[in-house]
């Protein structure tokens, strides 16, 4: 008796969207085991992890606050992933955006005006795009692998930010901590709901996802991306420029990541610090996959993964759950997702006799 696999004629649509849910269930089940192994009360910890963040208005606002950058970045990354362009340096592009918009905020720290925030937003998006333009240029001009170049640039961006906040941009009136001045009122995003930290960034993220949906489902550009990713030969034959795809997806990904960086520092943080993101740029990769590279899926996935951040924080306080457990959770989620994908793409058959002649070639 042996197990055999066969590809499905077409990817099963039900399973395609059901497998992410299966992955979530498996992750939660593994979380139960993980919490047991850590000597915690698993049901209590899971409750804090998954339910507690949703019970208060403030908690829901915090969820939106975390989901914003994840959705924003993942939307951009998904455009690239669909076209087989692997930008994994979104964290660096986020930092570049934060540096540029932070520079604007600090340059006008003494002034006020409605134009400061739009200028910061523009600087953030352009900063992220400029930073993503490096791997795009290297890829199209010199055939440098974008995975490696964009990742190396992330380490460099972290160090540039560190130079700035330890050096020239350090708060001159501060206590010598490595942090910039607090941004002026005009350089901070307004609150959507008083009493929370929620800013309009989440609306921009949702808008970007919807735009991306229209772009990928209804325009020629979206079609080009899909062909370029799924059938590169056909794309070449149809005259779709590969370089154009690479530039477009990297710039879109970088711009959205830069925007996320701008919203982080102009929103909840309000100044530049050596570390401004808990790895949103990397976690967004998980969000993009979990959302099936589909903008609507990404919105749902963004909220789910944001829950793991906030639930992780609550469980840290309530159950002394180690902070690193959140990363393990997120990694497991991606593993299960990739494994469950198998079900939507293949049949598994149990055969009694050894396989007869070749079935397919």
């Amino acid at each position: 008796m042996r197990l055999e696999i066969e590809p499905r004629r077409s990817v099963s649509p039900v399973l395609f969207y059901a497998t992410p849910l299966l992955a979530v269930v498996l992750t939660v089940a593994s979380g139960y085991v993980l919490f047991l192994a850590l000597g915690l009360d698993p049901s209590r910890t899971l409750y804090h992890f998954l339910v507690a963040p949703l019970l208060t208005g403030f908690g829901l606002a915090e969820l939106c606050l975390k989901a914003g950058p994840l959705v924003l970045i993942a939307t951009g990354l998904a455009l690239g992933f669909r076209a087989n362009v692997w930008n994994i340096g979104a964290e660096g592009q986020l930092i570049a955006g934060a540096i540029c918009s932070g520079g604007v905020a600090l340059a006008f720290w003494n002034e006020s005006g409605w134009w400061i925030l739009p200028l910061m937003t523009l600087a953030g998006a352009l900063g992220g795009m400029a930073y993503a333009a490096i791997p795009a240029f290297l890829k199209t001009r010199f055939d440098v692998n974008e995975i490696l170049s964009s990742l190396m640039l992330t380490y460099i961006a972290t160090l540039i930010l560190s130079i700035l906040v330890f050096g020239p941009w350090r708060d001159p009136d501060g206590l010598n901590f490595p942090e910039s001045r607090l941004f002026s009122e005009s350089a901070q995003l307004p609150l959507l709901i008083e009493g929370t930290r929620l800013h309009p960034g989440i609306l921009v993220a949702l808008g970007a996802a919807l735009l991306a949906w229209i772009l990928s489902a209804r325009t020629m550009t979206g079609f080009r991306l899909d062909v370029s990713g799924q059938a590169p030969e056909a794309a070449r034959f149809a005259g779709f420029s590969r370089n154009h795809t690479i530039w477009m997806t990297l710039l879109a990904g970088g711009g959205l990541a830069g925007l996320a960086g701008c919203f982080e520092i102009a929103g909840p943080i309000g100044q530049l610090l050596p570390q401004i993101s808990p790895g949103y740029g990397f976690t967004a990769i998980i969000v993009a996959f979990l959302g099936r590279l589909h903008p609507l899926g990404i919105i749902a996935a963004g909220f789910l993964v944001a829950l793991s951040y906030n639930g992780g924080e609550i469980a840290q306080v309530q159950d002394q759950l180690p902070a690193a457990a959140v990363g393990v959770f997120q990694g497991m989620l991606l593993f299960y997702l990739l494994a469950c994908d198998f079900l939507s793409r293949f049949h598994i058959r149990l055969r009694r006799a050894p396989a007869s002649a070749e079935k397919r070639s």
């Binding site: 696999i5 170049s149 640039l153 380490y155 996959f289 457990a325 198998f342 293949f346 396989a355």
Partner: protein, 304 residues
């Protein structure tokens, strides 16, 4: 004497890169692109450190590091080779998971000092001025890393096993038609890559900076992947590349003390060097990609 101590430092900085890059080279020559090197190194580092601290035996620690690295690689292999998952996505998942899991496992080991690995000491030889300590005064992992590179070079070029492995990487379909167990070969190569990455991590945690710190690999796994491209998938060139990068990281450490510039500027050097080296090797007359195994990263299953 200064030259000797600089050379010692370069060798130490190069060794973790060499381990990880040689392991990745073997996996890639078999057609498997495993981007989880960083995660496997971290798990290798934390496991070897924890086992050494608890058991008191660095030998057990090294073995545990290698095993832990290959367990991680097994996870990757099951997903990509048996369940046909996307290699790029799975590799990223392995790295993200490894970062999280290693810091979870290493919580209670932060800040514990270790004496470091003992160094070879042959009376007379090890005391020779200059080359004595370089050749006869290293720890066991340094010798092992070079031996591993030599072994891989020999196996790939001169043995039947090497030929089979290369066939699996160049054309899985043809190798399968010839009756070679492509999936089995790829499993083996991936596990070897994991063990080597685990050894690289073990060297970091037991010898290079004998301690455990979260994320202590600091991108070395990714640099190792770049080194395979840089070395155009040939073991001796990868060895040369690892030593070159060891040199770059020592250079930046020394430069930090000399020049009156922000230290972070020098810390960028290895990452910037990686980009520059990749650019030079990918463009120009070398055209690195032409040397890549033809079926690198392409999924294969015999029954499809």
């Amino acid at each position: 004497m200064i030259a000797t101590s600089i050379a010692m430092a370069v060798i130490a900085a190069a060794t973790p890169l060499l381990f990880a890059a040689i392991g990745e080279l073997v996996a890639e020559r078999a057609g498997v692109l495993n981007l989880g090197v960083e995660g496997m190194m971290l798990i290798g580092a934390v496991t070897s450190f924890a086992v050494t601290v608890t058991s008191g035996s660095w030998i057990l620690g090294i073995i545990a590091g290698a095993l832990a690295g290959s367990v991680m690689a097994l996870l990757f292999a099951v997903l990509t080779l048996s369940l046909m998952a996307n290699q790029v996505g799975t590799g990223l998942a392995l790295t993200l998971f490894g970062i999280g899991l290693s810091s979870l496992l290493g919580r209670s080991f932060v800040g514990i000092p270790l004496p470091g690995l003992p160094r070879l000491d042959i009376p007379g030889l090890s005391d020779l001025p200059g080359i004595g300590p370089l050749l006869f005064g290293q720890d066991i992992l340094v010798y092992l890393s070079v031996a591993l590179a030599a072994l891989v070079a020999w196996v790939l070029k001169r043995t039947r096993m090497g030929l089979m492995l290369r066939a699996a990487g160049e054309s899985a379909r043809s190798a399968h038609s010839l009756g070679l167990p492509v999936i089995g070969i790829r499993y083996g190569a991936t596990l070897f890559g994991g063990a080597a990455a685990g050894l690289g991590g073990a060297f970091l945690a037991l010898a290079y900076t004998p301690m455990w710190a979260e994320n202590m690999t600091a991108g070395r796994g990714w640099i190792a992947i770049a080194l395979v491209v840089f070395g155009s998938w040939r073991p001796w060139r990868v060895l040369a590349g690892a030593y070159l990068f060891g040199g770059v990281s020592i250079l930046q450490m020394h430069a930090q003390g000399v020049a009156d510039l922000p230290p972070q500027l020098f810390a960028m050097l290895p990452y910037a060097a990686t980009i520059i080296v990749l650019t030079v090797i990918s463009a120009g007359p070398w055209k690195a990609r032409l040397n890549a195994p033809a079926d690198l990263g392409k999924p294969f299953h015999p029954s499809l």
